[in-house]
Amino acid sequence: MKRLVVLLIALSLLLTGCGGGGAKTSDTFIYALDADIVNLLPVKLTNVVSTTVSTQIHEPLVKYEDTYDEFVPKLATEWSMDPSGLSWTFKLRTGVTWHDGEPFTSEDVKYTYETLLDPATKSVRRANYQIIKSIETPDEHTVVFHLSEPHGPFLDKMSQVPIMAKHHVSKVGLDDYNSKAIGTGPFMMVEWIPDDHVTLKANPNYWGGKPAIENVIFKPIPEASVRAMALQKGEVHFASGLTAEDFEKVLDKGNVQGIVVDSLAFAYFGHNNRNPLFADKRVRQALAYAIDGESIVNDVRKGAAIVSVGPISPTNAVWFNPNVKQYPYDPEKAKELLAQAGWQVGSDGFLTKDGKTFSFSVILAAGDEVMRNQAVLIQKWLKDVGVDLKLEFLDWSVMNDRLDNREYEAMMLSMTPSPDPDQFNYWHSTAIDNGFNDWCYSNVQVDRLLEQGRRETDPAARKAIYDEVQAILAEDVAAVFLYHPKVLGGLNKNFTGMTEGPAGQAPLLYKVKPVK
């Protein structure tokens, strides 16, 4: 028995021996993530979490920082497009060094984009950059991109690729890069313990000045409610993606300041436009009138959203077009339109036409309470006008398969577009097979405008084009646009400077300061 006790004590000492706690001083900022990072390699960034961490380490040439109106110079200080629109010249910042002390040059930029474009890299973002024909480096601090055709959203695309170090990446390889990440950014990689934490420390030689916080620890906490409680307790200093209830609770305690960020995302009820059921525009418009977007915003989202009229959020003020057809909640009008389209009320209260009941099902991801609540409301509203909606809750991976194969009558999701209005991948008819056109929306006029808008480089001309696209999408009811969600987060009051905008961009942690 005694031997057993000794053994147990020895074992227990052995077992608790390791574990990596961080210094919890005021210069350490702990940031709660909702999942662990996947891949920090700039050319392989695919998810929000990885981008959040990677962009503290790596920087792109240019970036949106406070607004969408203009690009802020990062690794490039000046840029210009030649009149033909076929080549862009970037002057690079001088005196910038990588975290290992090597100088940053134009070769790094060329290497990054060539790696991205190399089919062997298998970057899923490659298709977006295929307009780049060749890259030239006349000197150490100049890069020239030659394009196959003029491209309006070119700078927007440049803002999405952080630059990586040629000398380093060509040595360590594209796999297993995470814990070896080296960039020019304000923070440097210290360690990554999978599913536990990522630690970064301030880059003392950052060209923009050393950040005010010394360490950043990213902690993946998958449960939203636990994330909120950790924030409330001060175990983490920033957390976002909180539910409306948790958000209120967290603010109640007084040590947390709310950070509400408008997002560029748009949530919709999307009927499959290929389905003959929705071929008549009056039917689509009836759906839009029958669904009460405002009530979803107030009752389901508890105010944490903006009512939507199209795929571009009012937050994106430069490109948003408010002058489009709108569909305020009006069930009577919906019934009228449906009657005009030939639908008669049957004996069971549902509409019928040619012996068929107006009945269809919508697919949505299981496990999302907000989505479920709004689906139930929509089901009720459609029933009010005589339409029978069935709800089909699916596992995310199954949902993806159904979407890819276009096997649905309707689906409910949200999309997060880029700040640039080029939504070719959403609304162009070729994007039904090769893109995100989940609505299977096809309109010759919209196709033509989207093609034009991409090639146009004059902002004023582009504005006119995309205003028209938004107007047509609304008139046509390409989808029933519901709302633009707001992202609810909280910042510990011992810190300031967490910027609230612009939406959809990774946080700028180098601006965060401890309150002394």
Partner: protein, 306 residues
């Protein structure tokens, strides 16, 4: 004895192979395409095709299975389809956390279940017994995630004694250990009680009492040892539940263990990772059962004869 053990090990091999084939098949039958999950919905067909080729997903099922198996037997479990990190690295970095958590939870479970079970059996149909049974009932019917959240709200948020989640210090162990330990203690306690009551009816217990031995000695020395056999059996199969049981708990407590890795891998249809983890768990369960069989022989000499 040695022959017995060797025979059991040899029998376990086809069992593990069968499980691996089953797991491989189930992952293929499950809806959801791992390549799509990896490439993202934006990916053009050429990227999808090249990834599919690279991972061998374009080959017939049995070819895929044997390629995978021969690699695993040589110690190469492949790479995660999603993060592209080696599966062995992903598992190795998580395993210690799950083992540590389970070690403490099991210890806690045993520490609660044994004394409680023995007392409940000894004081059968008194208030002690009823209280212990009530504890077991509550413990077994309480869902793990619910208990976890309640413990976080009470002990982490209200009382501020322990951290809500994560790892680092001994304090981080307390809540997840308690959650797991209590759920196991509840079931185990009932097992101990029933098993002991069964044994207490035996003749030799009456004989021991008739000899004038103290009740404590009768209970601990004569009855408990024989009551252990069914309990050890249960502990063996429990090993499987341990990993499964941690799936939810690890996610709630942001514990970087195997259960959480498995959850993420399953949701993302991360083939090789899921297969490797399941295979590992099944090998562990088979090994545990083997160990239990051997332990039988140690605890009960009668087993050795058969």
């Amino acid at each position: 004895m040695l022959k017995y053990v060797v025979r059991r090990i040899l029998l376990a091999i086809p069992l593990v192979l069968g499980i691996s084939l089953l797991v491989f098949g189930l992952m293929h039958l499950a809806p959801g395409d791992p390549v799509r999950m990896l490439a993202g919905r934006e990916a053009p067909q050429e990227v999808i095709d090249s990834i599919r080729r690279e991972w061998g997903f374009d080959k017939p099922f049995l070819v895929q299975y044997f390629t995978w198996l021969s690699k695993v037997l040589r110690g190469d479990m492949g790479r995660s389809v999603i993060s592209q990190l080696p599966v062995s690295y992903l598992i190795k970095s998580r395993l210690p956390y799950t083992l540590k958590l389970n070690f403490w939870a099991t210890l806690l479970g045993l520490a609660i279940a044994f004394p409680l079970g023995v007392i409940a059996a000894a004081k059968r149909q008194t208030w002690v017994d009823y209280a212990a049974s009530a504890f077991a009932l509550v413990g077994m019917s309480m869902p793990g995630f619910w208990l976890a959240l309640v413990l976080i709200i009470v002990f982490a948020v209200q009382l501020n004694w322990f951290p809500t989640s994560g790892t680092g210090t001994w304090a981080h162990y307390v809540l997840p250990t308690a959650t797991l330990g209590f759920s196991w203690a509840a079931g185990l306690m009932r097992m101990v009680r029933t098993s002991l009551l069964e044994v207490l009816k035996e003749d030799y217990v009456r004989t021991a009492r008739a000899k004038g031995l103290r009740e404590k000695v009768v209970l601990v020395k004569h009855a408990l040892r024989n009551a252990l056999i069914p309990i050890v059996t249960v502990l063996g199969t429990w090993l499987a539940y341990m990993v499964v049981g941690t799936v939810v708990i690890e996610t709630i407590f942001a514990w970087p263990g195997l259960g959480r890795l498995l959850t993420t891998a399953l949701l993302q249809r991360d083939f090789f990772l899921v297969q490797a983890i399941i295979l590992m768990i099944s090998v562990a369960v088979v090994a545990a059962n083997l160990l239990v069989d051997v332990l039988y022989a140690v605890i009960d000499p009668r087993v050795r004869l058969s």
